[in-house]
């Protein structure tokens, strides 16, 4: 744990006794690092601490959550996290829109209603007819339903989720091209957004990261 490189005055961490079972807290200088002889090195995993980058390109309520949830989980595992919001994904960090993202059943053939199982056994697994999604008020209803379900699971709303990510140290960026295209102003962005970033700068910032596109 400690060696000659321990800075002067730093507390020396006692070593765990032999055979002591404890979780991997990534306490060694470079957590998850691939050493020259480790199996990770043979697989081409870059040495150094793990880093993840998410690209959020969609602005539907259901498509906002995957990156927010996984990014939050990664931060909890001590992983450096970068999130790039681009195209419709900008609605997630725009304070004028992010409390009001919508969930629509149109185009979603995986939309089921668990409640229908009570009407007839098996109905809960059937896709709802696509035509239903086009009826007036359906998107509002589906959105309210999804929000209620998320709340019951104690999942924060999108604005609260961004607060949580910010407090946990996530690096969040708005895509320059779409930011300008949509004529968004910086004052409208969630305060956790560090910068408006060009695509090439994002590529530079995420050097060595695992990239997940949503």
């Amino acid at each position: 744990m400690s060696d000659s490189s321990t800075p002067l005055g730093a507390t020396v961490t006692p070593a765990a006794p032999d055979g002591f079972v404890m979780p991997d807290f990534g306490h060694v200088d470079a957590p998850h690092a691939a050493t020259e002889t480790s199996p990770e090195a043979a697989l081409g995993v870059p040495a150094g601490p793990r880093k993840m980058a998410f690209i959020c390109s969609k602005g539907n309520l259901d498509m906002a959550y995957p990156a927010l949830i996984m990014g939050n989980a990664a931060l909890g595992e001590g992983i450096e996290v970068h999130i790039f919001f681009t195209f419709w994904g900008l609605d997630i960090i725009n304070r004028r829109t992010n409390a009001d993202l919508k969930f629509t059943m149109t185009g979603n053939t995986a939309m089921h209603m668990p409640q229908l199982g009570r009407v007839h056994d098996g109905l809960e697994h059937r896709s709802l007819p696509q035509g239903l999604g086009n009826l007036p008020g359906m998107t509002g209803m589906a959105t309210r339903m999804m929000k209620r379900q998320m709340e019951e699971m104690e999942i924060p709303t999108v604005p609260e989720f961004l607060d949580l990510l910010q407090a946990s140290g996530a690096h969040m960026y708005a895509c320059r091209l779409t930011f300008e295209m949509n004529k968004i102003i910086e004052a409208d962005l969630h305060p956790g957004v560090e910068r408006v970033l060009s695509a090439s700068d994002f590529i530079v910032v995420t050097n060595g990261a695992q990239i997940i596109f949503v």
Binding site: P14, P17, V21, I69, G169
Partner: protein, 104 residues
């Protein structure tokens, strides 16, 4: 099931090293475990651990960071400072509880 011995105290743990019997936990044990990860427990650390233990007793599951904030009123940023790296896991380990399983 493995067991750990630290400074004369023996306690049962799961495969990852989390205590399996919260009754075997004590503040002194937590302090000794904290030393292994370079943390000196202050009242601020203890408040978080105590909330974790009482919330676990109440709900039956170890609280996540989000719950520490929403139900316990703890500042997430501060928890990252107090328990750097993997705060929720570190707190659960030090509080003698299983690791949190909630996604958020």
């Amino acid at each position: 099931m493995p067991s750990n011995t630290l400074n004369g105290r023996t306690f049962q743990v799961d495969d990852e090293g989390f205590l399996t019997d919260p009754g075997q936990w004590s503040e002194e044990l937590a302090a000794d475990m904290a030393a292994l990860v370079g943390i000196e427990l202050t009242p601020a650390h203890m408040a978080a651990l105590e909330f974790m233990r009482s919330d676990r007793e109440e709900t039956g599951s170890t609280p996540t960071l989000r719950r520490m904030n929403s139900a316990g009123g703890f500042d997430v940023k501060e928890l990252f400072t107090l328990f750097p790296g993997k705060p929720a896991k570190k707190m659960a380990w030090l509080a003698g509880l299983p690791k949190p399983v909630g996604c958020v």
